[in-house]
Amino acid sequence: MSGDVSAVLAKHQHDPTRLVQILRDLMAAQRHLTPQDLTAIAKGLALPRGRVEGVAGFYSFFATEPRGAYRVLFSDSITDRMAGSVELRQRLLDAFHLRLGEVSRDGLLSVDVTSCTGLCDQGPAMLVNGVAIPRLTHARIGAISALIRASSPMEWWPENLFSIHSHIERRDQVLSTPFERGEAVRAAIRRGPDGTLEELQRSGLRGRGGAGFSTATKWTACRGAEGRARFLVCNADEGEPGTFKDRVLLADHLELVLDGMTVAGHTVGAKKGFLYLRGEYPFLVQPILAALEERRHERWLGSEIAGVPGFDFDIELHVGAGAYVCGEESALIESLEGKRGIPRNRPPYPVTHGYLGQPTVVNNVETLAKCALIASHGAEFFKLRGTAKSTGTKLLSVSGDVARPGIYEYGFGVPVSQVLADAGAERTQAVQVGGPSGTLLSRSELGRRIAFEDVPSAGALIVFDESRSILDVVESFAAFFAHESCGFCTPCRVGTTLAAQMMGRLCHGRGTRRDVKDLARVARQMRATSHCGLGSSAGNPVLHALEKFRPSFDKALASHEVVPSFDLDEALAPAREVTGREDEGAHLTEEAT
């Protein structure tokens, strides 16, 4: 067994639920996982080897084949592309005579793409060996190339390369109310669990992770459920392209979130909470661990919190490894248990059968921050903002074609047009609200409001001006879903790939009328029969664009009839490579086919 493996296993007490963390640590130490490593880990955790290999093969950040000593992953969100990431990527590739996905011959560098890294307000962005670098420019790429060529250890790279900005552009309740560590916990102790639940009920708080489920109802159900233990999970997986508000909350308002988690633990009777942080946010790991340590020290975490007998609660940080589907609550729980992130069959729901089969509350970061605010200041204060059905404020992540991308906090009910005006959007053609799985709004719909009763959203607005091609936008979203489908169910596993292939053909002028028809058919199939929210919303961009931007599709058609989707000449490429021929006779011309 390699020394790395035994050390990492020991660090995690040979606990199989920590498998994802174990593989992360090993990746950091040696940059790829060998077949022998997987065997050793399986033995050390007493798991079938296939289970370990299956987990290693599920998450994007794990590699089972050698990668470069510097593994560069360019964030490939639509906003990165709009900011020039494709050209910058090519520049880096050219500098090392590499192709995308390859490892350089000396093993120094590999370059690939990854899904949105949550830095849409400061893109284009990349991850180098898991560390985020935002605001890429030609100058930055030049500097990074030189550092890599010199094999400079990353600790020596200029620190400003890595600095992440918060870009808070508009503050309301959450972002402007002063808050002191423990304030909400103290209030929750004073009210008692029943009092806290009552306050929460009166606040009308609905989950900020997307679905808008009543938080009081969820907590009450978990509190009343039978179980050996109860658990609380803060969902900080934030993988929806265009969304970065949880990153900013964790960076700038961490105490509010941790207080919210502790209040939840107190109220539902959980002794353990998990903070599931997406793997793309490594820069938040040290600050979170430090804050948790301070809280234990000051007895805001641990046993007998604030001196109250029986109030025991602690928080463990879990870091993801590149899988958007792990934001779905039951997939997240599987991942926390050290498994592939496959959404479970529901019912039963996590509130009765969650982590290790026990009652579990899963809440979004922003939801928990709001719980802390409600505990501290009461339901009436909270309800000063928002609408009757959507109380309180919402943090919006605004990116794309705007002068001031960043975080905007408004009371629910704000018209999209006001957000656009505040962010300095001009000549707007379309706005994607809620990320790829949300709603594509055309210019005529900008008067609609952000609220559960109108346009519901986890809070992302990606703005496209008149210079953008809607087809490119839809193609990028389709590729995202194909990359992130977990593959469990047929409609999403196959449908997302078919949709991405057809969108690719359309964008490259090879699409046909049949493709357009099939796109709608595939999208509706996914919507009707998918197993989880990823698949059932994966067809939204296609369906919304077909409904609202149909002329873009018609203009892109190569022919109104069928053109072969199979490229005969391309199919001969392997034969040419084997025979070393590149002459005219080795190619099929238009006439020949």
Binding site: Q36, R49, E53, A482, C486, F488, T497, L498, T529
Partner: protein
């Protein structure tokens, strides 16, 4: 009346309707289980009467009070109105079977499983005439390393029945899944990646559950000529109901 239900408690059993027929059910049954027990076939691929419903292929899709659901994992509910053989539901199922044909390499005329294959039989039952979408032609090398067993991954529909059988019945964990999305694939439990280095034996349950022709006994090929096989004689709608009743007779 279903022969799987004891006549004595039939009057007290709650029912739902399936395409207008009353179907009785016990509290532990899902829609698919209750329907099959009562002699009504609902197409399915990842469901197997001896295993816990899995819910991944979605071929068993029905409409429950207007909402599309996987019938194998949806608990039966008294008074529910279930639509299973409308054109709309059959179209949804046919699309899914076409998806499965599109993502794998299925050359039925030369396949040893032809006539015994559930995927092929379900495709016939749904009136599928082509796979419609652009074939993906994935590269999936076969594994012939084991002395008695051939693995032809080209036909795998990722139903996980072999994974479940090997783990739950055989206690060997010979099979597992790796990869994600369209790259999801079946793997075997060995550092070499070869079936020969696993503990699979021909008597294992995992040998007999594959709905398609991935896990094949060597030296048995074409013993039963094409034309005289399971679904050549009778449609899957009859065979599957019989098999379901046989498998569940003991525990009703």
């Amino acid at each position: 009346m279903s022969d799987a239900t004891k006549p004595g408690d039939a009057p007290s059993l709650p029912t739902f309707t399936l395409d207008g027929h009353d179907v009785p059910f016990t509290p532990d049954q899902t829609i698919l289980q209750a329907a099959m027990a009562a002699g009504h076939y609902i197409p399915h691929l990842c469901f197997h009467p001896e295993f816990k419903p899995h819910g991944s292929c979605k071929v068993c899709t029905v409409k429950v009070d207007g909402r599309t659901m996987a019938s194998c994992t949806t608990q039966a509910r008294a008074g529910a109105e279930i639509e299973s053989s409308s054109d709309e539901v059959r179209d949804l199922r046919r699309n899914l079977v076409q998806f499965l044909f599109t993502e794998g390499n299925h050359f039925c005329p030369s396949c040893e499983q032809s006539g015994d294959c559930k995927l092929q039989a379900v495709a016939y039952e749904l009136g599928m005439t082509s796979s419609h979408f652009t074939q993906m032609f994935p590269d999936r090398p076969v594994d012939a390393s084991h002395p008695d067993v051939l693995l032809d991954f080209n036909r795998c529909i990722l139903c996980e029945l072999c994974v479940r059988a090997s783990a739950e019945v055989d206690g060997k964990d010979v099979f597992a899944l790796s990869g994600r999305g369209i790259k999801k694939h079946l793997i075997v439990n060995a550092e070499s990646g070869r079936l020969a280095d696993t503990r699979l034996a021909v008597e294992d349950k995992a040998m007999s559950v594959c709905p398609v022709g991935v896990i094949l006994r060597k030296r048995r090929g074409f013993r039963v000529p094409i034309g005289q096989r399971t679904y050549d004689a009778r449609p899957i709608s009859e065979v599957a109901v019989d098999q379901y009743r046989r498998a569940t007779r003991g525990d009703e």
